[in-house]
Amino acid sequence: MNFSEVATSGPQFFTLVPWVVFFPIVGLLVNMILGGRMGEKAIGAVACLASGLAFVVSILQAVSLVGHPEGMVVPLADWITIGELNLRWAFRVDTLSVTMMLVVSGVGTLIHIYAVGYMHEDVRHNGDPGRFRRFFVYFNLFIAAMMVLVSGDNYVMLFVGWEGVGLCSYLLIGFWYEKGKDGIGNAIAGKKAFVTSRVGDFGFLIAAFIMFAFFRSLDFETVFAKAGAVAAATPWAITAITLFMLLGVTGKSAQLPLYVWLPDAMAGPTPVSALIHAATMVTAGVYLIARSHPLYVLVPGAQSTVAWVGAATALFAATIAVGQFDIKRVLAYSTISQLGFMVAAVGMGAFVAGMFHLVTHAFFKALLFLSSGSVIQGVERGQHHVEHDPRLKKQLKNQGNEFDPQDMRNMGGLRTRMPTTFWVYLIGALALAGIFPLAGFWSKDEILAGSNAFNTWIYGILAVAAFFTAFYMGRQILMVFLSEPRSPAAEHAEESPPLMTVPLIVLAVLSVLGGALNLPGVDSFGNWLEHTIKLGQAAVEAGGFNLGVALLSTILALVAIFVSWWLYDRRFREMQSLPAAKRPDDPLRSVIGPVFTGMEKKWWVDELYAAILLNPYIALSRFLADVVDWRFWHDWFHDVLIVGGYNLLTRLLSVRIDLGGIDAFANGLAAATQNLAARLRRVETGYVRNYALAVFVGAVLILGYLILR
């Protein structure tokens, strides 16, 4: 650790770091304000340039870090100052955050370029070309929010980015909000993602509150410095913080039990799935744990909880991926499974291995998603071709009324029709399966070696998950690209334009070479991260290379691929001779029967959640709305009690008090006066003699009085 002598050398661009956020914001503002008058090409160029410039800034940060590995905190502004709470808007440049910046902006830029080609076709296919601009505004917003997340210097800034990416995820899942099942399927998927993540965000917030209660600060620097002292004084506080943080991680990084939103999130356009739901946003949880490592290493209980959650997720999601027919859903469950690997790794304390897998996974999973997008559009083009060719049209008769271009049972034989896509897909799949010497091999084996040293059970679970991974990827390749075309659309599928295939090729190269980041023995990535994740030598080495583990996992992967070949090539061909009615839709179904149905139905987790959480919740809210709010508060309390009581009171006041009291008094007075007058008027006879008599009598009386007094 004697890099102090080089610490003063090399160029330094740390103060440029706010531009990783500003460039995407400028890009989105330009597209938002001026985009209406710009063409698709200009909009795409602005968005790609914004993301690309953020990448350039990230590279400059990395270059600066070579000379100054201790990094720097670049304060931008004071944000919140209330009493003891003092939050700055500050950017943290260290090896961990710059790694994330490079992945986000690098992979992000490639996906931006791909999306220009993809969305050009997608907006036309879905019939609203005007949404091209909106897509790139959201995309740049996502990059900005993700950059805030990874570069924030305190937990609140991280949380702002955390929520920002959640918002973009919601907006982009529901991008075609009027499409999907029953016209609201996509909107529901977006809502599900948002609400499920919210459960996790609640955990994050509670963790932040507890943290402030005990540390009186939310800055990384201060919290980590005090961690040891707080752990000695109140150990349960650190446990609570780390476990609540884990809840946040399960929400954002799609771990058990909150993973259910991610498969549905595939409703978004494919570049969204690649960027947000595979490469970057969902890894935020892994980043959070890696960033909070000084807290996690203090509580082994929380660490093993994290590891178990990750391992269980890895296996559980991998089994579901085997039974899926939607090409993107397979990848979605695969993503959940791989995120499980990463979470397990950071849980075990193998932070370097986890981050390494995060990076390589970003490469090959983005590649796989983007290629699947290319496949889907290729099949859509084939379908379009068949529908508009009078001679081919009659082939569509026995096809169902709704053609699903994402269903792998409609594909097959795409190898010759989409060669570029096939090759990059194959590279991505092999990298994911962990075949030597592709990127996934190195990172996954580092995790497996770490788990071998940590806990044999977890190692076993992860090894089985890795076996399933290789199996479902083999199944997918065989179903999609090899064998014979299974639909007219697949037979007439066409390759995608270069705007889409070039980023694929770049990602494929990265997927091949990504392992070079952290080759065993060289450990360049480990040494790089060591400047930030200071665990001492032993913990970092725990994630090192283990030849036995590597051999075993390679053999497992090869066996899995062989099994998939046997089932989906040999068995599939044999099954073609059976009559159509007796032919199962998947060769595996004939082997394991009900287990496959369980996999296909996702182990009924959605149904289980619906039964134990959702339906009671809906019933409760319906009860609250219909009975408590409407019938009790509105109908009874408001209408009967308040309105009725008020009516009663006003009636009492108007009839009894006003009419019966005040009016009656005034009227009675008038009537009495009238009555008296009517009696008195009789005196006024009009006859002069009466008046004279009155005067006479009066005079007599007065005189009589005077005399007789």
Binding site: R682, T685, R689
Partner: protein, 100 residues
């Protein structure tokens, strides 16, 4: 010389006859005559006392009363003529416009 009481008694009788005439009769001419009778009974009383006490004041009052009576009759007759013009009658019982 006769005592004053005799004069006073005659004056009272005359006044009473006059008052009854005013109250009972319906002809305004007769009523005026009755009023004159009452005024003159008062005159008689004044004269009687003036003579008994040897004072001139009572005598002077009589002159005033005569003047007032003459003026009253003038006004009263003018009223009667005016009423006759409008109602073609001078019966006091017909003149009950003040009836309530």
């Amino acid at each position: 010389m006769l005592p004053v009481a005799y004069y006073i008694g005659l004056s009272a009788i005359l006044f009473t006859i006059g008052a009854l005439g005013v109250l009972i009769r319906r002809n305004p001419i007769v009523i005026f005559m009755s009023v004159e009778l009452m005024l003159n009974s008062a005159n008689l009383a004044f004269i009687a006392f003036a003579r008994a006490y040897g004072e001139m004041t009572g005598q002077i009052f009589v002159f005033f009363i005569m003047t007032v009576a003459a003026a009253e009759v003038g006004v009263g007759l003018a009223l009667i003529v005016a009423i006759f013009h409008t109602k073609q009658s001078i019966d006091v019982d017909q003149m009950n416009s003040l009836k309530g």
